[in-house]
Symmetry: C2
Subunit: 469 residues, 2 copies
């Protein structure tokens, strides 16, 4: 699409005409946005940024030595891209550090298992622990079990996550990851293993955070890869006692202060009003964090840079936030909300790219009804990218939760997540999983939403009820 089509232009003018009060975009601006959208489809900047972060920093678990390197990388990259203002804001966190992680079936057969510790769980002794496995099909089955079934044993939940384009299998399965360590502890178990929350068949187990608070008992807990979980299920089918040895020495490791890194492209008329986009800067430590979430950084940093270069400063500031420690604490999100709680109304609209690098197929919003005409114009510009409207009952990326709960308007550009949970939180989250073409389509879509929001004459509401929760 090199030029805006006559029919698109007609639709744009019609929309602008019909909603002149809300959306005084001029035709030339909309034409420029359409041209930039199309140019973005063959632009490689987002991929280059993604390659840079994964190659020059790689794995960057919050609180690890790589955390500070990621922060330095982000500052340098914002500078290189010509952002007008680059700041960092402290994000304190309680550090969790991965240790050794091994598992094996000891009897009745001998197998090494691939396992990864669940984030925020407690360690086994250094020499590991042995125990008989008690098998539950689901978390609910474990929750319903009598303490006598669990006491002194290693629990195993074997439920498998379902594959769906919208990733909806995740919510259904992830409760096991969140709760098994605490439920097992409550029933007197000594450790917990789950089938990875993932849709693949690779020997690359999926980590991810477990629920944790200091006052609730918990046990060491890990996730087996899907093939290892299959194997354990098959061994258990033999109806003999099955003994497993686990060594998971991951542990809490004191306090750390990470940083949100913020790049602003300043607005020309209302620089103190922010359209907030971004990604999380941290990653789990098993892969290089390419789809979770370097690609989100590439998409949103590139979108802001291309807008600035091709459209010039817009009315509002485009604020790109690279959030700290999304993965096991939302530390950056909480810190930012707290630091800015007196100016939340200056945060006009926000979104986060944090669902991989798949093509975008829908826009969801949670904005005031009065802003819907502008959403309609966005949709007119998004339709040529294959993007449908998913309604005004939308949500946002996790790092916007604190501000969304406070009433901020948000949007979500929904990515095809069919394969996302093959790699999510595994050693397999590496650059090869990023398709440059799909990434560029993401940038095109983020440009449309971000530019129109930054240029709109109106806000998108505040104090909205979060209908998703």
């Amino acid at each position: 699409m090199k030029n805006i089509s006559p029919i698109t232009l007609f639709l744009l003018i019609f929309c602008v005409g019909a909603n002149a009060q809300q959306s005084k975009f001029n035709d030339e601006f909309l034409q420029q946005v359409a041209e930039l959208r199309d140019a973005a489809l063959t632009d490689g900047l987002a991929y280059d940024i993604t390659e840079s972060l994964t190659t020059e920093v790689g794995a960057r678990l919050a609180g690890s030595p790589q955390d500070a390197k990621a922060v330095a990388w982000a500052q340098a990259k914002f500078k290189e891209l010509g952002f007008d203002r680059i700041t960092t804001e402290a994000a304190p966190l309680k550090r969790w550090t991965r240790g050794q992680e091994t598992a094996e079936i000891i009897s009745p057969y001998q197998h090494k298992l691939t396992i990864t510790a669940l984030g925020r769980t407690n360690p086994t002794p250094d020499e590991g622990i042995n125990g008989e496995v008690v098998h539950f099909a689901t978390l609910a089955d474990l929750q319903a079990a009598d303490k006598s079934e669990v006491a002194g044993k290693i629990t195993f939940i074997s439920e498998r996550m379902e594959r769906h384009k919208d990733g909806s299998g995740y919510g259904k399965a992830v409760g096991a990851r969140g709760l098994t360590a605490q439920v097992t502890a409550e029933k007197g178990g000594i450790a917990a293993i789950i089938r990875s929350i993932g849709t693949d068949n690779n020997r690359t187990p999926h980590t991810g955070a477990a629920s944790y608070d200091e006052d609730t008992p918990s046990v060491p807990a890990g996730a087996l890869s899907n093939p290892d979980a299959d194997l354990l299920v098959n061994v258990l089918k033999r109806k003999q006692p099955v003994t497993v040895k686990l060594t998971l020495t991951s542990h809490w490791d004191g306090d750390y202060t990470s940083q949100n890194v913020i790049g602003d492209m300043l607005g020309s008329e209302k620089p103190e009003e922010y359209i907030v986009i971004g990604c999380h800067l941290d990653s789990w430590d098993l892969g290089t964090g390419a789809i979770d979430d370097a690609s989100g950084c590439g998409i949103t940093m590139a979108a802001a840079k291309l807008i600035k270069d091709k459209l010039g400063p817009l009315k509002r500031t485009i604020r790109v936030i690279l959030w700290a420690n999304e993965e096991y604490g939302l530390s950056g999100a909480i810190a930012y909300h707290d630091a800015h709680k007196d100016e939340l109304r200056q945060h006009i609209l926000g979104g986060e790219s944090d669902f991989g690098a798949g093509e975008i197929y829908a826009l969801g919003t949670r904005v005031a009804e009065s802003a819907m005409p502008t959403i309609d114009i966005m949709m007119t510009l998004l339709k040529p990218l294959g993007i449908e409207f998913a309604g005004n009952n939308g949500s946002s990326g996790a790092d916007l939760i604190p501000m969304r709960r406070a009433g901020m308007a948000v949007f979500g550009l929904k990515q095809d997540g069919t394969d996302y949970f093959d790699y999510h939180h595994t050693a397999n989250d590496t650059l090869d999983k990023v398709d440059p073409k799909a990434l560029a389509q993401n940038v095109a879509a983020w440009i449309v939403v971000t530019a129109l929001a930054a240029q709109a004459d109106h806000d998108f509401g505040f104090g909205l009820t979060d209908k998703t929760e």
Copy 2:
């Protein structure tokens, strides 16, 4: 296919009629074979055997404690399946044992890499070795390099294997695995790393044997997973010196005697003549050896068992050999050839199933021209399975190499290997990679070839020139 179709029957009778001298199969026998072929398509025995070996033994590197367990498993399984005669034959080998295997980029960035030692290579010191990386696109480039480029460095070959249905990318790429340790040593390098010989994008590196003899200098050598090789290439693109640390403590570990395990279904007329089928019993140690080669054991053990049960004893003995240490020495193949060298002519026709669990799409043979009419009849029965004839210039599985070179007639039922090298020699070689339906199609095909060969009135030639070498 429940019954033999009229047209198939016509073709069979036509063939039998036309070649009455060579192939005195009676119609009833051919009808029974066709019925058994069709019944095999929904039979689960091969899958059950594959599941049993991978679950009850799992990884079974030759010379490891699992080797003896695999031998015991094979003896028990042959007995359970009702084989007439079960024997073991010694297969001496020089034992190679995997140790620790870690790698990391130390500068200019820090990354943990996934690596696996190449079989039969020497260890690094326990504390590892550091060195600057010198990058070659191909083995040929390394071979052409001046010693001054390589001396004191760690070589890295980044050539990527191509994906093809017939696995032909393997032969093109695998030379790097075979020779890099010796070529690097010859040029004064301190260690060698290669991109895995594999077609996947998983963090599961591919092991496999390197060339070795006691008199040729060699260095420690390992294979990076494809994503890790990509990362190293991208780091090298920055044109700064790249330093890597390798710890590969795998080593030679004395002598061991493994066993070929042989199950015979005795012939009724010529019990001393053998149709040799089978698989290799050993596996690499990273996965559970499901596609390499438990599935081959499942296919051939099930084929022999179903023939015996449904067709009764045939004229010749069907000999199923589970070969010892195919992976790093062909120890069982060499030992069997040497032990039976005075009776090789009693080995009428042989094949090995050792290319995973994909559907069979072709039959290749290397038999005397006088036996071709029987091959034509086999083809008539194989065509309904989607199997074409690939010519009489065929090869065989690796364990038949010594007997093939001595002139034995062989066949190969060629499997779709499109995905085989995604998993081959990796931790990902697990049961979930086996499709029960494709496995059953394999059994059906092996039944056809094995039964007709065992019942044929003629031999398949001997002293044949091995046109494949």
